[in-house]
């Protein structure tokens, strides 16, 4: 079987890989080939959100996306999201309210909320924030602090 080269843009940089199997998931390409281990693997079946990245600015489950399907797309991971204005705001909100305990789920939550801010703006109804968060699981925080971080992001947008 012939080689499958792959070109991606990850965190603003072009990436060229000589041969990425068609069945390889974006999650494994990011963690295994590009050493971007901030993106976490939880369930590998779309149920936990730990693997969430942005593909062309939209929250996407990297465990359910073939790397080859992201060819030419712009991918943002937790390693790159801090240099994005919305991403930085989400990180600061998580820190301010103490929404991080063990931290395993945190990259996924940060990427999901950053994606929502990009797609819908910080003034989106709060129900949309909760709906976005509904795709991510956290075993430590009981979600209270994470929901407070989301509420703070909306309040901050309203006062800007």
């Amino acid at each position: 079987m012939s080689a499958h080269p792959l070109r991606l843009r990850v965190n603003g940089r072009p990436v060229e890989l000589a041969d990425v199997p068609v069945t390889e998931r974006l999650l494994d390409t990011l963690r295994g080939r590009l050493d971007l281990k901030g993106t976490k693997e939880g369930c590998r079946t779309g149920g936990c959100g730990a693997c969430t990245v942005l593909v062309d600015g939209r929250s996407t489950l990297s465990c359910l996306t073939l790397a080859q399907e992201a060819a030419e797309a712009e991918i943002t991971t937790i390693e790159g999201v801090g240099s994005d204005a919305e991403g930085h705001r989400v990180q600061a909100a998580f820190e301010a309210v103490g929404a991080v305990q063990c931290g395993y789920c945190t990259p996924g939550f940060v990427m999901a909320l950053t994606g929502l801010l990009k797609e819908r703006g910080a003034a989106a109804p709060f129900g949309e924030f909760l709906e976005e968060l509904g795709g991510n699981l956290c075993r430590c925080t009981g979600y209270g602090a994470i929901v407070r971080a989301a509420a703070a992001l909306r309040a901050e947008a309203a006062s800007r």
């Binding site: 079987m1 012939s2 499958h4 199997p21 068609v22 069945t23 998931r25 079946t45 779309g46 149920g47 959100g49 969430t52 593909v55 939209r58 929250s59 996407t60 489950l61 359910l64 996306t65 073939l66 080859q68 399907e69 999901a112 994606g115 929502l116 909760l130 709906e131 976005e132 509904g134 795709g135 991510n136």
Partner: protein, 280 residues
């Protein structure tokens, strides 16, 4: 898992050409992949070729008067954010919003949901209640089939081995609703669901129930009990009784038959109330 060879047609003609040459029994069709990657990983598919629909110009949403045509590869999230879908097809909006999470809906498609044809699909019952049709594209052209004829059972559809789902057509914007019973409010699979619509042209209700095998079903007899545009409480109760007593509701590993039959009345009441403007 052995690696596959990837085919990514960029036009409908290229897709048809690919369908003519690839052996159907060795070809997996990939839209969003949210169902297919499971099957690939579990070794359920003996595919050697992966036909990706990613580059096809089918991510479309077209309103033509009352009719909505949805390209099969349009991400569900785009459908859900369309302002006209929100106001003109509220039942479709609720069905879409019930599918997985936002991040999942950025990739999952309507074509994939029909292709998988799951008994607990949140979209099949809505499409049934809305009289939707599936447009199939094959080596010899296109044909159109009602969703009711297309969907046959879990992983079973009327799709020919070399056909692609090209689009889904909903003939008219309608008062409609979709309500479901599940354990968690987001990102959970339904135990039982009801979709309803009222057609302004033939002035009839459609009622579909879903969540149990083998597939979501339309219940035309029960729907006649609802009568006209604004069913009163006794009419809804009679329709609910008809469904509870006669619909082929069964148990599976997610819920018992008795529980599901008890859910009929509250779900139908909520669905009719939502579709007639009374809120869900």
């Amino acid at each position: 898992m052995a690696d596959l060879d990837l085919v990514t047609p960029a036009t409908s003609d290229e897709a048809v050409a690919a369908l003519r040459t690839l052996p159907p029994e060795e070809t997996a069709i990939l839209a969003g992949g949210t169902d297919l990657l499971f099957d690939l990983e579990e070794g359920r598919l003996s595919a050697r070729h992966l036909l990706s629909l990613r580059r096809l110009p089918w991510r479309t949403l077209d309103w033509n008067g009352p009719t909505l045509t949805i390209g099969s590869t349009l991400p569900l999230r785009t459908l859900e954010l369309d302002p006209e879908v929100r106001t003109r097809l509220p039942g479709l909006l609720e069905g879409v919003r019930a599918v997985g999470s936002v991040a999942l809906r950025h990739r999952a498609t309507l074509g994939g949901n029909l292709g998988r044809s799951a008994p607990a699909s949140d979209l099949v019952p809505v499409l049934l209640a809305l009289d939707a049709e599936v447009e199939l594209l094959g080596p010899t052209g296109t044909r159109t089939l009602s969703v009711d004829r297309f969907v046959q059972g879990s992983r079973r559809t009327a799709r020919g081995p070399s056909e692609l789902i090209r689009a889904v057509r909903i003939p008219e914007a309608r008062p409609s609703a979709y309500v479901l019973q599940r354990v968690r409010p987001f990102h959970d699979i339904s135990h039982m669901a009801i979709a309803v619509s009222f057609s302004p042209s033939d002035r009839r209700w459609r009622v579909a129930v879903a969540g149990f095998p083998p597939r979501p079903i339309l219940l035309p007899e029960a729907a006649t009990f609802l009568g006209g545009e604004h069913p009163d409480a006794p009419a809804v109760l009679r329709a609910a009784q008809e469904i509870t007593e006669r619909a082929p509701i069964v148990a599976d590993r997610r819920a018992s038959e008795e529980y599901r039959r008890q859910l009929v009345r509250p779900l139908l009441e909520r669905a009719v109330r939502a579709a007639t403007g009374g809120g869900g």
